[in-house]
């Protein structure tokens, strides 16, 4: 379904420059998008993808460069103007108002109203229709968005974009919070849109998705276009990676240790753990040096399991034992004291101190290590943080900049760095590589494996089945709040996991 | 009735003698609490007017404040400045005593107005209103009006409760009522503002379904109090005011409300303080006295103003 190349492209951006204090985020980017195509934007973390689309949605004003829509040069002065041109955006950091309902969020800024009075019935009806068409009719229009899972919030964003008269839909890493099923649903929606002539700009770090949905590719590197108009179906992966990173990376998981871990002492033992209304009867044993993966659909309750285990939610039943000592229920300090660490799922709300410097974010849970009599040795902190950010390839490299100014993927690396630094007996990782680029991924996998080899018990939750199978020694499949399968990772393959995960699930 | 001769204390009284002739310029520092009600505003205003009347007085007025810490620093500033005299109406007399002592030790005479210091050495001259006496006057007047009716309901709308002056007034009131076997049945504090007076009075009317007499400490808040009475349509009682604003006196004169009397608490004290300071520094004495020195203490009288004698007072009353 390649688009017709004749006529002026729907969108033509050229020479776009955007500077932030100390960083030239965009340094002469060119991009053209045709009606009816899915145009993929590739690039490492911090390459400038999100900044580019924020320029496009008029969230930022560019410092230089031109934007033409339908061949006519245009100034996009405010987000409202961009919307008038039919540009709808789903941002990387979901920008919804937590306390407003689903319907209110969808129509925020272009409320259905008569004489200033909201037409709530009409809004709810329209919302229901939108959600049904997106395959998520179970989300109630009156529910507060803050209570939805990230995947459901993504759907709300999508519905919001569709509630406008959209000609150009921009999706910034939409699949980061979705599982296979969700991605398939998303692609179905995208195909429907492009068939009607809507253009889509699609950003993702998962190359297999690009192959499946994309028509053409533009690659950004350090804020500049390094290649454009590449054919999404045929360009070899190695070439793409070379273009993005400037080097070649073989994308592999680190080798598993040869000695069977089940021989060692169990470090973490969970018995009959339950959280009222979400999951129950979860048993889990993790040995020293072992990596256990939790696979499952989004919303299956995997995050809840490890958050409960960590004491961040109060269990309604069951026990958690670390090194033979029982943990007090619902107490994070108790878990931390016992050597448990949790790298949470949502980096912005659960992980980061956005206004604080990078190094402070990295050392926040191990501050005691850098302190003598409560006095901190900031130089040691910076040194350690710099080592970590370098090995994770955080860009830009300075550890003194506020985390807020980092790109999404780089922020994720900071959250992860904190927990890699921490001396833990048990490390719980929830979606550790969400939004992280290809280059940094293998580095993260290697680090996690190295930690395990040093005797840490690791639990990884991921929606990418490939990641769970590749990284973990043992895999648990979670469905609707219950563990439905457990086996060694090399005794099960991707399609079997998918079958287990889907069984009985809606759609 | 007593002769209220000294209370006026206005410029008109000091006409004779050479006291009004210009002498060396006198720099006077003046500090008073925040002018958050009419009486206090008029204290500062009367001080300014008094100073303006003399070309040899250079008055420095510090920001009115209810923060003793700030008021102390104002006095310190005056000391640093080397003013010739300080006229001080302290927010809290006891709390301002140390810094006043400091000024006296630095050779700057302090004229203490209205709220008395803890230590007599902290002021060269003290110009006092008589808060206790005010309560006594109000109480005695109510006693005389109600006669011997021990069942009569007497209500009191006080000022700011945490101020010592309010306690003194209430004490005087209670003591005077006790003389004729009455007591205060309902007491509500307000805050010296019309708004506070209205609020307090509205609640008071509900608390006491039947009242015979009310003493309201302050005529400024009294405007609100009267408005509340009017709103509620209650007039079975008579009210005595306090401080003696021109508004209140006009109302008494016109006899158009429940306000039948008010107890004067002279707001001219500020002006008196300025005059004392000038005389002190220029080493003059009070013209009408034989004394060659300015006296140590002047206590002003708290007369009751009624329709009978309002003529006598209305000209010196403060506009609030």
């Amino acid at each position: 379904m390649a688009a017709t190349p004749e006529g002026a492209p729907l969108l033509q951006m050229s020479g776009i420059v955007k500077e932030f204090p100390g960083v030239r985020a965009l340094d002469g980017v060119d991009l053209d998008v045709r009606a009816g195509e899915v145009h993929c934007l590739l690039g490492q973390n911090g390459a400038g993808k999100s900044t580019l689309i924020k320029v496009l949605s008029a969230s930022y004003r560019p410092d230089a460069g031109t934007i033409a829509i339908d061949g006519a040069e245009t100034t996009l002065s405010t987000p409202a103007v961009a919307m008038k041109h039919g540009i709808s955006t789903i941002y990387q950091e979901l920008d919804l108002v937590a306390d407003l309902s689903v319907a209110e969020n969808i129509f925020l800024g272009h409320e259905l109203s008569r004489g200033g009075f909201s037409q709530r019935q009409r809004a709810h009806r329209t919302t229901r229709e939108l959600l049904t068409r997106l395959g998520h009719a179970h989300v109630s229009p009156t529910r507060a968005v803050g209570t939805l899972s990230p995947a459901e919030q993504q759907i709300v964003s999508m519905a919001r974009a569709l509630s406008h008269d959209t000609r150009l839909l921009i999706l910034d890493e939409p699949s980061a919070v979705l599982d296979q099923d969700g991605v398939a649903n998303l692609f179905r929606v995208i195909r429907g849109l492009t068939a009607e002539g809507v253009a889509v700009v699609y950003i993702s770090h998962r190359l297999e998705e690009i192959r499946e949905i994309g028509d053409r590719i533009t690659v950004l590197k350090d804020g500049a276009t390094v290649a454009t108009g590449l054919d999404a179906a045929t360009t070899p992966t190695a070439d793409l990676i070379k273009l993005m990173t400037g080097r070649s990376i073989e994308y592999v998981f680190p080798p598993r240790s040869s000695t069977p871990r089940s021989r060692t002492d169990p470090v973490l033992e969970v018995r009959g753990l339950a959280l009222a209304g979400v999951f129950s009867g979860v048993d889990l044993t993790v040995h020293a040096g072992e990596i256990v993966g939790l696979a499952g659909l989004v919303g299956a309750g995997r995050s809840e399991i490890i958050e409960t285990l960590y004491g961040a939610r109060r269990a309604s039943a069951g026990t958690v034992t670390v090194d033979g000592r029982k943990l007090r229920r619902g107490s994070v300090p108790a878990a931390v004291k016992a050597g448990v660490g949790l790298c949470p799922e949502e980096r912005k709300s659960q992980g980061l101190l956005l206004d604080q410097a990078v190094y402070r974010n990295i050392t926040v849970s191990v501050m005691g290590r850098f302190a003598r009599l409560g006095l901190l040795d900031e130089r040691a902190e910076r040194r350690t943080a710099t080592e970590l950010t370098t090995s994770l390839d955080v860009r830009p490299a300075g550890v003194d900049r506020a985390v807020r100014t980092l790109s999404g993927g780089n922020q994720q690396k900071i959250v992860l760095a904190r927990w890699l630094l921490r001396e833990c007996r048990v490390l719980l990782l929830d979606e550790p590589t969400r939004g992280v680029d290809v280059g940094a991924r293998s580095e993260i996998y290697a680090l996690v494996r190295r930690l395990a080899d040093s005797g840490v018990a690791v639990v990884v939750v991921s929606s990418e089945v490939e990641e769970v199978l590749g990284l973990a020694d043992r895999v648990l499949v979670v469905r609707e709040g219950a563990v439905v399968h457990e086996s060694a990772a090399d005794e099960i393959d991707e399609s079997r996991v998918l079958d287990l995960v889907m069984e009985g699930a809606p759609a | 009735a007593d002769d209220g001769g000294t209370q006026a204390g206005g410029t008109s009284e000091a006409e004779q003698g050479s006291n009004d002739e210009a002498g060396d310029t006198v720099v006077i520092g003046f500090s008073a609490p925040a002018a958050d009600h009419g009486w206090m505003a008029s204290i500062t205003e009367s001080a300014r007017e008094a100073a303006d009347a003399y070309e040899d007085v250079d008055l420095r007025i510090a920001e009115g404040t209810n923060d003793v810490n700030l008021q102390i620093s104002q006095v310190e500033t005056f000391i640093n400045d080397g003013v010739d005299a300080i006229v001080l109406l302290p927010f809290d007399g006891a709390a301002m005593t140390p810094v006043a002592l400091q000024a006296m030790e630095a050779g700057i005479p302090v004229i203490n107005v209205d709220r008395e210091f803890e230590d007599p050495n902290a002021a060269r001259v003290t110009v006092l209103g008589d808060n206790y006496g005010m309560g006594v006057s109000a109480g005695s007047y109510i006693c005389s009006e109600l006669g011997d009716n021990p069942d009569a309901v007497v209500a009191e709308i006080a000022g700011i409760d945490s101020l010592p002056l309010t306690q003194d007034r209430s004490q005087g009131f209670e003591d005077a009522l006790g003389e004729c076997g009455l007591d205060v049945d309902n007491r509500v504090p307000a805050d010296f503002t019309p708004e506070g007076g209205e609020r307090a009075a509205s609640n008071l009317l509900q608390a006491a379904p039947q009242i015979d007499a009310v003493w309201n400490h302050d005529d400024d808040q009294g405007v609100g109090v009267l408005a509340a009475f009017e709103n509620a349509g209650r007039d079975e009682f008579f009210m005595v005011g306090g401080a003696g604003s021109a508004n209140a006196m006009r109302s008494i004169q016109a006899d158009d409300s429940v306000l039948k009397a008010t107890v004067v608490y002279p707001s001219t004290q500020g002006a008196d303080g300025i005059m004392m300071a000038r005389l002190l520094v220029q080493q003059k004495a009070l013209g009408d006295l034989v004394e060659v020195e300015v006296p140590r203490e002047v206590q002003l009288y708290a007369p009751v103003v009624t329709a009978d004698n309002v003529e006598q007072f209305i000209d010196t009353a403060f506009e609030s």
């Binding site: 179905r188 009607e196 | 019309p194 408005a227």
Partner: protein, 360 residues
């Protein structure tokens, strides 16, 4: 404003979308895990049910009033007294609910009310009012309030001065100006039409109580049923998201302060009619009462969540408390001591209920 654009839902969506069961079992009320910052429980929209704890606190207070003072508390006259006292704080509190929900705060309300009351009772204004119509005074009061609100709003939204500081500055300046204009005199109102109108009663209910009820009702509708209300929540809850959704956050912020300014003008009219005076001391420290009523009602001080019903109950709780104390002839000190304890008790009570109504 593009509000009325007709939207064709799901334009271009595949017709093959799988319909899922329309009734959703997982739909719970709002709530869920939120940051641990102190709060009043998940008070979401409006409605008595969500404010059950507060209502209960108010009821208990009334019962205490009835038990300790008999029918003196329960009499119509006393209830009207409570409502009359609540009216001034109440009107401002409704406006403050919008400002706080929108992520701001306004410390200048008392000062603006004072300035407004002074301006509209100057000799000049009163003379003009007598010569023409007393509505001139109403116009003056509202205009002064709106102007002050406009300045605060512009400072906050375009000047990017933090609301606390901008409105603190407005507080100082407005009161200073009020003092200068009035020369610190209490200005007595003598415009018969004005006093007659605002002092009147309609079927036994004082006009200012009716005004309060009207403002509360309009406030409720605007807050819960209009675009303006929804946008206020969005601007306070996530200003960046609101901006990206095409809302003019800065203009909206200005409007929020302007409406509060206008309501301060309304409050000025009420206090003028109650005390028959305009003075620079009106409304001293009322800002604390107002903010306390709004916050105890369940509006989030950080913005993004608010309730008009809660605010009204908050105002009533505070006024009733004072009334019960006065009827009981307690000393100010005891009142203060008890007030603190009662406030905390009311909040804890409200929390219990909020927590209970949230659990499944």
């Amino acid at each position: 404003m593009s509000d009325d654009t007709e939207v064709s839902p799901g334009r271009g969506l595949p017709a093959t979308a799988v319909p899922v069961s329309p009734t959703d079992p997982t739909t719970g009320g709002p709530g869920g895990e939120r940051p641990a910052r102190g709060r009043l429980g998940g008070l979401g929209g409006s409605g008595l049910v969500r404010n059950l704890g507060l209502v209960l606190a108010l009821v208990i207070l009334c019962v205490v009033g009835l038990v300790t003072t008999g029918e003196r508390f329960g009499s119509t006259a006393n209830l009207l007294t409570i409502l009359r006292l609540a009216a001034v704080t109440g009107v401002i509190s409704i406006g403050m609910t919008f400002v706080i929900t929108g992520g701001g705060i306004d410390l200048s309300v008392g000062a603006v009310m004072a300035l407004s009351s002074v301006w509209c009772t100057t000799l000049a204004t009163q003379t003009m009012a007598r010569d023409t119509h007393w509505i001139v005074m109403v116009g003056a009061a509202l205009a002064v309030g709106a102007a002050c609100g406009l300045i605060s709003g512009l400072l906050v939204s375009y000047g990017k001065v933090v609301p606390f500081i901008a409105t603190l500055a407005m507080l100082a300046s407005a009161r200073g100006l009020a003092e200068i204009i009035s020369q610190r005199r209490t200005q007595i109102v003598d415009v018969p039409g004005f006093t007659d109108f605002f002092g009147a009663e309609v079927v036994g209910v004082p006009v200012i109580v009716i005004m309060f009820a009207l403002v509360a009702a309009i406030g409720w509708v605007v807050f819960n049923r209009t675009t303006f209300g929804r946008r206020t929540l969005a601007v306070g809850g996530n200003p960046e998201a609101a901006r990206l959704a095409g809302i003019n956050v800065q203009r909206h912020t200005v409007l929020l302060y302007v409406q509060l300014g206008v309501l301060c003008g309304v409050a000025a009219l009420m206090i003028i009619s109650r005390t028959s005076t305009g003075t620079s001391t009106h409304g001293t420290l009322i800002e604390l009462d107002v903010i306390a009523a709004v916050v105890i009602g369940g509006t989030l001080l950080a913005g993004g969540r608010g309730t008009i019903v809660g605010t009204v109950i908050g105002v009533l709780i505070f006024t009733t408390l004072t009334n019960v104390f006065t009827l009981n002839n307690r000393s100010t000190s005891e009142q203060a001591l008890l007030k603190g304890v009662i406030i905390v008790a009311a909040v804890l009570l409200q929390q219990r209920f909020a927590a209970r109504s949230k659990s499944p």
